[in-house]
Symmetry: D2
Subunit: 169 residues, 4 copies
């Protein structure tokens, strides 16, 4: 079977943030993933499920457990998760501890998709979808066109880039 | 070594077309790939080489031989090629016949990158870059977030979608 | 009465052209004006009427007469007309000959609105809508943030800019 | 002389805000007006002067006096001012009290120009530039494709729309 069904779990993050023109603040409405897959002319078998729409700094351990449950209890072997970048590594770690025999890729954006051509979101989604389909079972983070193993990555808060903890691995 | 050096070969195609506001026609100036990698916040080791800037309907066998030569004579094992979609499969076939032991991914766009948020180019580039890094040696086409083996894909000219010749493979 | 009702007549032109990803050619579907007025957060009393959706090089004298009739027989004193730039001046001339005591502003774009941030269409529409509301009765062309009297303007086909025939007037 | 020289004074506001991808907050770098005039293919004689780059809620009376001085002491009779929307009316009032015999138009945006096609900034700039050229001497606010007299306008903070205090005037 060539096309592997993919589950896309939505948790919010910068990816899906929008600008509130009354307050001047960022907020969440609906996920833009279905629109993005359509613009990408994707005909893969993708199921989109919105678990929560939050900033990852607000994500609690209960929230993370919900993510893990959705990964373990579903019938999918290929799972893409949109996530705020600030605590993406923590969530990846908790998923990894569940020892699921699945390919699970977390992806985020540094600039909201709705901010137009300046956003990295559309590019990141394309690479994450590719990694979700072809990487062996494991938990990964896909950012900047790269993938990182969950246990060898950190977000550099000064530069805004994800980087390997040990670059030689 | 975690980060594999990638060679990006530019041949033109819809990807890099621009709108000439005097004639109302599409034309080529420079490739947008370096700008796109920057917006994607890519820090991978990518070398961009422009071989030609043409519509793939104009591509001759000499042009294709130039592409094959650049694939075979370079030191890179991971090669991404931007290409017009109309004859992408032909070029993939000629590269495959060279029997190079490298991962080579051809990618295109149905709408020029310069046409803004409606273009599929940025998404396709993200997925192609991922496939270039992780697929085993072989020649592939990356479109719509998917990858296709060079010998099991055709462009459906009615729908504008790439599809497998034999969907069961 | 502060807000003057405005009639927006649509004739097509580069303004409303879209990219056909199957043929690689430009074509017309629906006008983008209602969407553009909404993005501009316009609450003015604007009525949009699509007369035709054509390239202005294809516009016949019958087509132009239809435009003149719609200007003369309507109840509006402030009329904005979207029009291809190539024969905009001819249409303006025929409207002027009808000696209507109304403010009529023709506006176009050099790059289709759908081509994103590179298009001049949204800017031109903003200025044309302003001129339609405040210029005295007469027939004008609004391009590049400027307005031109119908009898002192030509399109420079080499540069793609509208310019006065006599710059001292 | 057909083309009237225009002075564009920059004070900041949502218009010119950018997204800081490290902090997730909005900030100011340089003004986007020259780029916007270029995309609008403007060849008018426009001089751009950046007075300050601030949120209008931070604007002090000293800041406003600087704006008034720049309006009064310059040689221009047609002045466009970019300004945050929150205190735009206050600044307009202080300029009006200076009784300058000039056409002065304040303009803002509800969504930053850098946020792409969702921004109203490019449209507002087009209409403001038109009003600056053709309205009689006075102080005006240009928003949503409309113009308002400085003494008959308020920003409705609930809806985010500017509206006349007395709609019958």
């Amino acid at each position: 079977m060539r096309k592997k069904p993919v589950l896309a779990l939505i948790t919010g993050g910068t990816f899906d943030k929008e600008y509130n023109l009354i307050t001047g603040e960022l907020f969440f409405k609906d996920t833009h993933l279905p629109e993005m897959f359509q613009l990408g002319r994707c005909t893969l078998d993708i199921t989109v499920r919105t678990l929560m729409m939050i900033d990852s700094l607000q994500m609690t351990d209960d929230d993370r457990r919900l993510v893990v449950q959705n990964c373990s209890r579903c019938e999918f072997d290929h799972i893409l998760i949109t996530h705020g970048t600030d605590t993406m590594v923590q969530t990846a770690e908790m998923i990894a501890q569940a020892n699921l025999n699945k390919t699970i890729v977390l992806v985020g954006a540094m600039i909201p998709y709705k901010f137009g051509m300046s956003s990295d979101g559309f590019f990141n989604l394309g690479s994450a979808l590719a990694y979700t389909q072809v990487l062996p079972a494991g938990v990964y983070i896909a950012m900047h066109g790269e993938y990182f193993h969950w246990d060898n990555v950190r977000k550099n808060r000064k530069t805004g880039y994800f980087e390997p903890i040990n670059p030689d691995l």
